[in-house]
């Protein structure tokens, strides 16, 4: 799925476009070290964590897009950092569970 398709599946908004890459795998979690250790490379990451370290983790773990759930609006430092690093950033009003279901239905791998 492209970033725009992910946003559409989640009634969300792309806050930062990122690189035009295909994302088929996803990971959900808020503890940064768990995400670091477990998120598959090139994945989309569903979280409610909203600080600049989220972008840092995405850069180092090779995560392509951050999906910020529950209507949380990214702090400026996070969106700026995503823009600099070419990481996609989507906001969605859905919670993490509903967003996961939406992505699965749209063709994301479980």
């Amino acid at each position: 799925m492209k970033l725009k398709e992910i946003a559409a599946a989640l009634a969300g908004t792309p806050a930062v476009e990122g690189q035009e890459a295909e994302i088929t795998r996803f990971y959900a979690g808020d503890f940064l070290s768990r995400v670091m250790g477990r998120a598959p490379e090139g994945c989309g990451w569903l979280t409610v964590m909203n600080n600049v370290n989220v972008a840092g983790v995405a850069v180092l773990a090779g995560i392509r897009a951050i999906i910020l759930c529950e209507g949380i609006q990214p702090v400026r430092e996070l969106s700026e950092r995503c823009r600099q690093e070419g990481i996609g950033l989507i906001t969605t009003p859905l919670d993490v569970y509903a967003a996961s279901v939406g992505l699965y239905r749209a063709g994301g791998e479980a």
Binding site: D30, F31, L32, M36, G37, E41, N53, V59, L60
Partner: protein
């Protein structure tokens, strides 16, 4: 041989990870395979975060040789009283304020062990900790 050296600022959660990101960029520039870079970036970031959370910063040194990369993280923090306990997944002594930032999952040292080819942790309570990680190229 390439030798990189970073002072890790213990008071700055915002720029936490800068050394690891610089190492990642350097390794990419010299053509290290991306799957090895990812392992190194993850393990080093965990070490960097640990130094910020628990030791008010420290020193990160990276030695790049043709066949291996070694990362040495040294701090003068409070030390680790029980290293086997600290190696357990989920064990953390981070404060609630730090956990609210998403740190303190108790996965730092386990990730460093899982992603490096060799991990050595030396620590003295009240004096500090030295972590040495090696990665075979």
């Amino acid at each position: 041989m390439i030798h990189l050296r970073y002072e890790v600022d213990g008071s700055d959660f915002v720029s936490c990870g800068k050394a690891s990101e610089d190492v990642k960029r350097t390794l990419k520039n010299i053509g290290i395979p991306s799957e090895i870079i990812r392992k190194i970036a993850i393990a080093m970031y965990e070490g960097e975060v640990n130094m910020v959370i628990h030791a008010n910063g420290g020193l990160a040194e990276v030695e790049i040789l043709p066949d291996r990369i070694t990362i040495v993280l040294t701090d003068t923090g409070k030390g680790i009283p029980d290293i086997p306990k600290a190696m357990e997944e989920g064990f953390s002594t981070a404060t609630e304020a730090i956990r609210e930032l998403g740190f303190g999952a108790g996965m730092g040292l386990p990730n460093m062990k899982n992603y490096s080819d060799d991990l050595k942790v030396e620590s003295r309570v009240g004096e500090g900790t030295k972590v040495t990680m090696s990665f075979i190229l």
